[in-house]
Amino acid sequence: MSASELSEVADLPDPAVPQPGVERQVEGRSPWQLAWIRLRRDRVAVVCAAFILLLVLVAILADPLANWIGYNATDQDQVNGITADGLPVGPDAHHLLGTDNLGRDILVRIIFGTRVSLVVGVSAAVAAVLIGVIVGLCAGYLGPVVDSVLARLMDVVLSFPFLLFAIALVTVVGPSELIEILVIAFFSWAAVGRIVRGQTLAIREREYIEAARSLGAGNLRIMVIDVLPNLMAPVIVYVTLLIPVSIVFEATLSYLGVGIIPPTPSWGNMISDAQNFYQVAWWYLVFPGAALVLTTLAFNLLGDSVRDALDPRTERLFAK
């Protein structure tokens, strides 16, 4: 789930090589500014970014939104939210997206689920990239002894049957949002670390690193000031691509019952509950599923556009 998508990022360009077709003659514009300009011209990226921004707003304003709609995430509407047979009610004027088997409003639960997905997904992705970059940087830069230890460590983590392990781990320590973030980060960082290590090994051989060493710069200074800026482009791409991976990871854990524990809503545990009712209540399954798929799609497309903007030479994962 995580490694396969990331591996495509591995061959990001070497920023030292002059790139044809890039507005080089523009005065003093940093590579970042150029990338930003390209990104803003990309219609797919703008649409996806707008959608993600909307999601963020929804997550932040979940409480006022729920108040305005009139139900809370755990309110069980016994009057309009459940049929006489105790079955969910389809979309209608009272409940825009219908209700679940306990008469709870699905729209409101999706809104609160957005918060869970974004908080867990983004924090886990950022944490994973942070750990991955630090470990990868150390493995790649600090020489063969450190490298052999850290590279082996990454191999071990990558060899973990991660979902199985995550399930076992969560059972032992007890499920919570924080544990979920840690577990996802723990099983995602090694893929990033391996790629960062490879890039660092290449950058380490460049003459400007030698130049810095001949000036007397210490390891830490070189890693932070000379190597890190050259890793920023792939790192930004990893973050945008790891976020959807982490969101799906979270939903999967919740679906399997080891993530967010009901009655707190998350897209994963809503779908899990809906599994028993899909024959009578399609909306129960379809709306949380659609929220999950659309969010993943938006992040994937945005990540692809970001990669495109940072390096116009590589082919897009998804052609326009």
Binding site: G28, E207, R213, S214, G216, I225, P229, N230
Partner: protein
Amino acid sequence: MTKPDPTPSIQRRPSDDDVLLTLRGVVKHYPIKHGIIFKTEIGRVRAVDGVELTVRRGETLGLVGETGCGKSTLARCITRLFPLTAGSIVFDGQDISRLSRRELRPYRRQVQMIFQDPYGSLNPRRRIGSIIGDPFAIHGVADGAERKRRVQELMELVGLNPEHYNRFPADFSGGQRQRIGVARALALRPKLIVCDEPVSALDVSIQAQIINLLEGLQDEFNLTYVFIAHDLSVVEHVSDRVAVMYLGKIVELADRDQLYGQPRHPYTNALLLAGSIADPDRARARRRIILTGDVPSPVDPPSGCRFHPRCPKAQQLCFDTEPQLQPEPGDPVEHATACHFPVAPGEDLTVLTPGIGSAVDQPTEG
């Protein structure tokens, strides 16, 4: 070539005893390791294998040789970019060959390096103001506005527009980038600058500009250069003395005029002959006559004199015994050659065919 010379006579004539840098038996081997868990060494790349050299204060010492002869490794030994395998380097009276990272810091201020690749030696993600200011930042010399002022001074000194302080390396041409590299090397006013093929990646017209810049700076700041190149004409132009390197060893060392006028080592002869012919096709033809075969591998260098498999004058002695780098009879003391059968003035090497290389090697190979 006339150049401005503010303090004539004394500075331009480096004296024999005013030595800035001494290399004694400098050796740099790279081990080749193999094994499953416990790695055993199965061989070594003898990149630099026993180099004796002195560099005098204020002079330019040229270092020439073919690709892979170890000259760049030697440069990185001098700047202590990696530890020596054996031997010692004495700079300004202090042995720096065994110093730790921390102890090296003062040395780093006094010895700087200019690199070959003007694209690779500047970090593409950093603004050039911060690149040139690196030496100040690393050694805590100047901060903030003061640093910026000094960086802009340096930029002006090397012929860059100080207003381009905030640009990125990608905004500059190759020659301008090399000026940035020069400014960075000059920042801490070092005594010695090791130039590792500083112009070989540049267009010929721009080469002259950079060389003139380096010469002007030498006069202005009383710099000492170790100037590495494979282009003999560039070395002839800039050097006071020239050392010729072959497979990790110095094979000939002399004043520039001596070396170019009266080369004694067959290898130097071959290089000069190949380089002095304007027509490249003829040059290649001539060169093939003398320098037969490829450069042998530094992993397993030939016995005795390392040049013997390619040398037209080689005899059994060259196969058995390694020649010492010493003045040949009739040469000035300054002119040292490591050869058993040095080339006599006027001798034509092209009529000889390499004898020992094929004759002696074949039985041992079987």
